[in-house]
Amino acid sequence: MPVLARTLSFTERMYLPIVKGLFFTFRVLFRKHIVRMYPEVGIPRSAATRGQPRLSQNEDGTVRCVACGLCEFVCPAYAITIHGAATERFIEREPREFEIDMLRCILCGFCEEACPKEAIYMSDELEHAGPTRAEHVMNKTQLLRPISKMRERIGFANNIYNRWRKDPLPVDPKINPANAPAVSPIATAVPRNDPTMRPLDAIASTKTTR
């Protein structure tokens, strides 16, 4: 099909509108720039920022993680390595060593979703650079962050993942409950007070009834 071009006026054929364009760019020369000087001025981050995973630390300095291994199991990139050990504390088990290889981590957030103890969370830390491979494998002490700093993210994440949970975890009070994601059919299919029923059975039962 032939493309029909608009007939140009005489001034347009003489390329005169070019002058108009030139004056526009000249005015922009003196306008204020819209640049953020990045390394000095950081990027604004919110609770929704899914940065690198970090471990949360109680107020008394102890690790929240119980070394259950769920995050290690769920991690699609095999980035997490946990060595559990017994502890005198009430939780009985804690990680002796907890490593995340940040070169493997794909920031998927599965570990956060899997963790039953609010122990591993996606922080707002995004920058990571270094000349050697070894320094990208972060150990327990490097990963620990006080839980007070992660409260907002924990509330945000709980709001998202509560739909999979039988017993909802506390959400950030700033979040409007009306905005919460719809409760998953799996979570509702589990009878709330039936201690014998495990979520996996519930998955099976929803599939067969369909």
């Binding site: 070019i18 760019t25 020369l29 640049v35």
Partner: protein, 341 residues
């Protein structure tokens, strides 16, 4: 010739040459700063105060880059092309008078006019040497053994040929006014009768348009043409060879700006100040400011306009500029002959 006289010539030459290369370096920074300002950005601002040392950083980077030569490239021509592109561009500035009067070189007791070579056929020298630059581009594209490069250089060859005509004719109109091919004579004539732009506005505009095409600059940069031809003739070039093309382009821009200043805007003349009373440094500043305006225009146009289509380029060159330039030339010639008889 005495030794001191030769030394004086060498010093003036080095002054002009160093000035040209310094302008090329400054332009590489100005290009990025101006483009940034026109797009609400800041541009390079980290190296040195206000980013002023960026050209030096660029140069160091270019020197340490790997030189890549594609398989099947012609080894000699591939190496020769950047030189052929940069050297004529640097040479063209030789005939442009960048100041009035003479400077006395301290300690030598010699004084030299502020022009490298004030030859009687300056205008022809400028055209002849300036056109040599296209060899660099054509050979560069051909020797790289890359079809995109070749396309870019063929386009550039056709474009230069088309616009050289209008450029020469508009230049000839200005030359007719002063009756001399010598650049200093043209300046002197303008000092007596007023700047040529007053008599030759049409030739000025034609020269202005053709000069963008001659230096392969936006909106006529068909030799590079990133969206269509990757990088055009310099696609395969890296390291200092690429830098040579780069510097050559800026040198050619500076020479062209100097030439249009000399031909139409009185070159180093300071307005309302007779030649004899102008101190040499003031005339150099006047020249720098006038050609600076055109250098800025190069950047301004580049960051304002989209690239022309190839048929538009040819249409503008052959169907619009050339007839107007011819007519202008004929009318000017007739009037000059009538006025002289």
């Amino acid at each position: 010739m005495e030794f001191t006289a030769i030394l004086a010539i060498v010093i003036v030459t080095l002054l002009a040459f160093g000035g040209t290369v310094a302008v090329a370096g400054a332009m590489s920074l100005a290009e990025r700063r101006v483009s940034a300002w026109m797009q609400y950005r800041i541009g390079p601002s980290r190296v040195g105060p206000l980013g002023l040392l960026q050209p030096i950083a660029d140069l160091i980077k270019f020197m340490f880059k790997e030189e890549v030569m594609p398989e099947g490239a012609h080894p000699l021509l591939f190496r020769l092309a950047p030189i052929l592109s940069a050297v004529p561009a640097m040479m063209t500035f030789a005939v442009v008078p960048f100041g009035l009067g003479k400077i006395t070189i301290p300690g030598l007791n010699e004084s030299r006019p502020l022009v490298v070579a004030d030859i009687p056929v300056g205008a022809i020298y400028f055209l002849a040497v300036g056109s040599l630059g296209v060899y660099g581009i054509i050979l560069g594209g051909w020797a790289s053994n890359n079809k995109f490069s070749l396309l870019g250089s063929i386009r550039s060859g056709a474009q230069m040929l088309s616009y050289e005509l209008s450029l020469t004719l508009s230049m000839a109109a200005a030359i007719l006014m002063s009756g001399s091919l010598q650049m200093t004579e043209i300046v002197k004539h303008q000092a007596e009768h007023g700047w040529n732009i007053l008599y030759q506005p049409v030739a000025f505009i034609i020269f202005l348009i053709a000069m963008f095409a001659e230096t392969n600059r936006h909106p006529f940069d068909f030799a590079e043409c990133e969206p269509e031809l990757v990088g055009g003739f310099h696609t395969e070039y890296s390291s200092m060879k690429f830098a040579m093309f780069f510097v050559g382009e800026y040198c050619a821009m500076f020479a062209m700006s100097g030439m249009i200043t000399t031909l139409f805007l009185g070159g180093p003349l300071v307005p309302f100040l007779p030649i004899e009373q102008t101190p040499w440094w003031l005339s150099v500043i006047a020249f720098a400011m006038k050609s600076g305006v055109f250098l800025f225009l190069y950047l301004w146009v580049r960051w304002s306009l989209p690239r022309f289509k190839y048929d538009q380029l040819m249409d503008l060159g052959w169907k619009k500029l050339l007839p107007v330039a011819l007519l202008n030339f004929a009318v000017t010639g007739t009037i000059v002959v009538l006025a002289n008889s």
